[in-house]
Symmetry: C2
Subunit: 464 residues, 2 copies
Amino acid sequence: MGALDEGHFNVELENGVNIGGCVELGFEGGESESPAIEDAVRVLLLGLGEDINREGIRKTPLRVAKALREGTRGYRQKAKDIVHSALFPEVGLEYRVGHAGGAGGLVVVRDLDLFSYCESCLLPFQVKCHVGYVPSGQRVVGLSKLSRVADVFAKRLQDPQRLANDVCKALQHGIKPAGVAVVLQCSHIHFPNFEAAFLDSNHQGWIKLLVTSGSGVFEDEKADVWADFLSLLQFRGINMVNMHPNSSVDQSWCPSHSFPKIAPANLAMMSAVGSILQSLGEDPLRKELVGTPARFVTWLMNFKNCNLEMNLNGLVRKRRDSLKPNGDVRRGEEHFCSELNLSFWSQCEHHLLPFHGVVHIGYYCAEGVISIGRSLLQSIVHFYGFKLQVQERMTRQIAETASSLLGEDVMVVVEANHTCMISRGIEKFGSNTATIAVLGQFSTDSTARAKFLQSIPSSCQPGV
Amino acid sequence: MGALDEGHFNVELENGVNIGGCVELGFEGGESESPAIEDAVRVLLLGLGEDINREGIRKTPLRVAKALREGTRGYRQKAKDIVHSALFPEVGLEYRVGHAGGAGGLVVVRDLDLFSYCESCLLPFQVKCHVGYVPSGQRVVGLSKLSRVADVFAKRLQDPQRLANDVCKALQHGIKPAGVAVVLQCSHIHFPNFEAAFLDSNHQGWIKLLVTSGSGVFEDEKADVWADFLSLLQFRGINMVNMHPNSSVDQSWCPSHSFPKIAPANLAMMSAVGSILQSLGEDPLRKELVGTPARFVTWLMNFKNCNLEMNLNGLVRKRRDSLKPNGDVRRGEEHFCSELNLSFWSQCEHHLLPFHGVVHIGYYCAEGVISIGRSLLQSIVHFYGFKLQVQERMTRQIAETASSLLGEDVMVVVEANHTCMISRGIEKFGSNTATIAVLGQFSTDSTARAKFLQSIPSSCQPGV
């Protein structure tokens, strides 16, 4: 536990357990043995009102434990070993004034995709990492080691500035160059809650933070070498305008801190999260972690399996009756309508990790009938989002409920970023999942489908 | 060996060795035990004229063996196990006409970054993979499994069309859905040679191929469901214009096939590559692999440690004399010049994998003196590129040689994509490395450096 207090960095470097080939391969072999985490996840699922024996959730405790162990494997890795295995002699300039090769001359690796776990709320956050160093002592380090070392510290419970500092210190210590610079572009999912989301749909997107850390010749933020480094990022299209200098990040960036406090009633759930922290090798009493169980449980309780279904069904029935006072409308009298980019938040029931994105709904509306309000459709989307879900089911449920309201011809497309696609072994940054439900006419009429699909705006790499 | 012939797919699925947790974690534990591959790599290094005991290369055989074993771990994985561990019951529509949830309704995972090894030339190629399926039988598969299955087949020696077919068949077999569709956007590095590159600098970039594969409802390329699938890709900004229908790819896309045949004289090297194929579990007599050793050796021999240095030095000295007939020029009479985006190819000496990109050279040129020709600088860049290299050394060497020609004030920036950053454990797609050498005035004058760096055009995600 003490390994994660103030002095954890040196302790890790000097006394960490040698896990041999695992450092190189970046994965642990075999099944994770974390019964304490699995038990804790069962408590959380029960607190959410779930049946822990239902198919789909039955193995969720195992999956969560494996993902958490893997996602925090950095606690069991030593940055020093990684660097020392790949230091190569490399001469500097001969007969000339200046810096190059193994003696000066900046080396920068840009656009390394990483993810880490937010120590404030236990949700993963994405990191675009840029690392540079100025070689000295006639030696350079293998380029991939800059990435591996950054990954060792990302795979822990972190805060962006500490992550940048940890990476910087470890590289300075391991390579002993003239200096090291680290720039991290971090993206954290928003922290909406069920009720607020119904009132305000503008929560889509990410909280972004740019942090830097420098050592040696980079210690002075105004040093010329920083200007060189930032120039090399700028012509890769990396915008440094919103850059926070080291000192200005006084309070946590995590959106859970600005969230209206709801005292989670469920002490068993909070204690379960505490036991997860302990199982990962963390000290739940470390000051940054003291409030984490409450914040994580607050996040999770947004997705409690609640009984609002009846209310929503009542609302839908009432609205439908008011829309169709004159009985059925014939096909020829209808025109195509759509509501695009309705945002949603959900929680993957397989991994207890967020997925979020947008819903597009296409339908036919009778001539003369007032088009259905966007806000009601957004409410339906939120209603089915704020649960433990799978995207396929949510798509079907939204389509069925929308059909109760809009008639039999409905098509729904859901586009989502799944945190479980980046924050586990597969680490597929930038991947995006689309699901479709087609009801009535849309299931047989490919022209109608094409018309709707073509109306959806291009969304290359949405979100991040 | 036979497992890789015509019927390898079923053999792999039914009789593959169960490697348990390794499939899930995607990595093998421990050190690779491949002395045969290491011996073969030593033969290749000797054939390239290298001293296999020099620091930097000493451990290259071990690194290459580990990378190859890891990069072809798909031979030791079973797609069926991956899918079967994550099939979940999911109902379809109730009381309505159409398709959704676990009974119809397309599910698509887009933009999965993978890499594979080209069976024609043994170089890695990049793959942007899009997978879709139509659920049936009231069940869906965990989304991440689409990525894991694709990865099992990518991590083998492949051809794009076969890779697409393998993934498609495995998912059809494992999920038993109404149909599976696979679209792969593949990018293969060009295949220049030393001499051609000096004559033609337009080789920069990638050879691209888009292939598709479909089963079940996707078997007919003209089926409506394909239009739905492609629409879902199009609004992610994926251009399907250059799409090759399955049947039109008659010959290998690999650029080595259109390469002027140079019979590699070194039979020992060819035999070494054959032994690598065998060690990976491949059959060197499989018809697609028969020519692979010759093609790989042809590629490799571009980077032979040759003795052209003397010639180049002669050229540089002659040119310099012609440029400075009147002795030294004072600083005030010089103006800033630059040559940007000089392309280069090189081979990473740590991993025997290509890295390539662009070189930018800034310098001061005396008033009235004819600016140095781009083609001579391009020749210098190629000269130092076509070797076993590290980027830091190449940057220094180009700067030193350019300085012999252009005077003491020279700045060189090299931007490179390293295949070793994507085709091994770290898999950092989109990462890019920049190195700088600063000579003379540039080493002390940050304004001069900034002026040069700002003249470099933005190159967001170059190459791919």
